[in-house]
Amino acid sequence: MKTLGKVFMGIVYAVLYAPLIVMVVFSFNAARSTTHFSGFSLRWYSELLGDFDMRDVLANTLFISVCAAVVATVLGVIAAYGIFRIRSKRLRNAVNTVTNIPLTNPDIITGVSLMMLFTFFGSLLFHRSEILGFWTLLIAHVTFDTPYVILNVLPRLYGSDPTLYEAAMDLGCTRTKAFWKIIFPGIVPGIVSGFIMAFTLSLDDFIISYYTNGHYNILATKLYTAVKKPVSPEYYALYSLIFLTIMILMTVVNVIQFRAERKKDGGRPTGQKGFAK
């Protein structure tokens, strides 16, 4: 039974990673083909380095992700604190339901609906047919990032101790001061993880951006025009580098986490034991 499970796991991993291995291997291909390997070369990596168009697109991608993550974090923290302070249960449920809409709706609906909003009001208010661009893309990204920030911050707020806040007020703090001194330090981890989540979601997003970007190209939309035709191994090279970076980052994070957990557990390996022996 146990070996059977391991074989099964091996097959799943093999399938999961086969296309990624193909990607990495063919990024070193000497020829342009993505099906016939004709020799090792770094040609596509050097082409990637010299590709100014790609450099612009990467800069755009990073810029929009940082902007969207910053705006979404500010908006999300304010929103979470607002929701936390809402007394009426009905109102709170209504707000939570609306917050969940971008999370449960498929990306294509979010993208299409925003695109239609922009074109509708673009022609109505500005009499312009081509309104899509950086600003609409930013609005779209902030819209789908913010709920994740709220979801990261809200549990921290609910976990905070209300008596501390009251004590601060009794000791003469104003509301604002009590917020910054008592509540804010407690929610910082949530804000940080919300920001990181927003940033990575923006980096990774394709579908919503595809409907709202106009002529402001980011990596995913450029990739989409590329993958409709036979793709240049230059993209393989780029995504191999991305893959490697993420793998290193994740390994580091996991090792740190594992060490921290083990330390907390007093030298013993963490977690419950494998539950079904």
Partner: protein, 278 residues
């Protein structure tokens, strides 16, 4: 006095987000409905919805393919998560990491690589001809589309199930064993009920992107396997874009998802606050 002040204050603090949510979450959906139910001059019409009957087969196909893909991912993910849970902590962490890792690579490039593996002159067929086996036509059929979806969305099923499973208190299983359950009955009576919420969120996380898929179906299934997502995309990005038709299709897609959510919610007894839950 104090109460009044605090309610005014909380009103202010909620203003930015309420505005944003209304402007960019609620109104866009209303605009979609507006486009779906009006003609070019803003008059009410059901013409756009009625003309969707030509796409009936595409809508049914999307639904059918995504149900199959969701079932397959569940059947693969459940034993997978179970196997991972039985490993030692360090291996568990590693396994988890390698499930998460492919999620970070853009779906488009993964699908492209998968297609290049499976195409007529792709690596799989090269290997098959090398060992004297004929070429297989692996692409441009139903199976290819479903496989593409299973491949891309499998991690979204594994992770929630794994999370639910790893939280099961081992003493519950010991108790079940002491009370005379064999391992099959322990899975059936203890593990499965406790992982139901994970399964439900896994189903949602796979079904929703599957039913609205585009690119995967067009790339791997050829022209005969278009899905709603491909239709919406072509209505918008073609030369003469047809927004009312795209809006009508989006409305249908939303309705499909809403109905599936309601059906799923009936199965999950763990109702959490706030209507549409994940």
């Amino acid at each position: 006095m104090r109460n009044k002040k605090s309610s005014i204050l909380s009103g202010f603090i909620n203003a930015p987000y309420f505005f944003w949510a209304a402007a960019f979450i609620i109104i866009p959906l209303i605009v979609v409905l507006f486009y779906a139910f009006t003609d070019g001059h803003g008059h009410f019409t059901v013409q756009n919805m009625a003309s969707l009957k030509d796409y009936g087969n595409v809508i049914l196909r999307s639904l059918w393919y995504s149900v199959i893909a969701t079932v397959i991912t569940l059947v693969v993910a459940y034993p997978f998560a179970y196997t991972v849970c039985r490993l030692r902590p360090l291996s568990r962490k590693l396994c988890n990491m390698f499930v998460t890792l492919p999620m970070w690579i853009n779906l488009l490039i993964k699908t492209y690589c998968l297609t290049s593996l499976m195409e007529q002159n792709g690596l799989i067929n090269q290997a098959l001809t090398a060992v004297g086996f004929g070429r297989l036509s692996l692409l441009n059929n139903t199976g290819a589309v479903i496989f593409g979806m299973v491949y891309n969305y499998l991690p979204y099923m594994i992770l929630p199930i794994y999370n639910a499973m790893s939280k099961i208190d081992p003493s519950l299983l010991e108790a079940a064993e002491d009370l005379g359950c064999n391992s099959f009955r322990r899975i059936r009576r203890v593990v499965m009920p406790l992982t139901a919420p994970g399964v439900i969120s896994g189903i949602i996380m796979v079904f929703v992107p599957s039913v609205s898929t585009f690119y995967i179906s067009a790339k791997m299934g050829g022209t005969g396997n278009f899905m709603i997502g491909d239709l919406i995309e072509s209505q918008i990005h073609n030369q003469n874009s047809n927004l009312p038709s795209a809006a009508a299709l989006s409305t249908v897609l939303m309705a499909l998802i809403l109905v599936s959510m309601l059906i799923l919610n009936r199965f999950s007894d763990s109702e959490e606050g706030g209507g549409a839950l994940i």
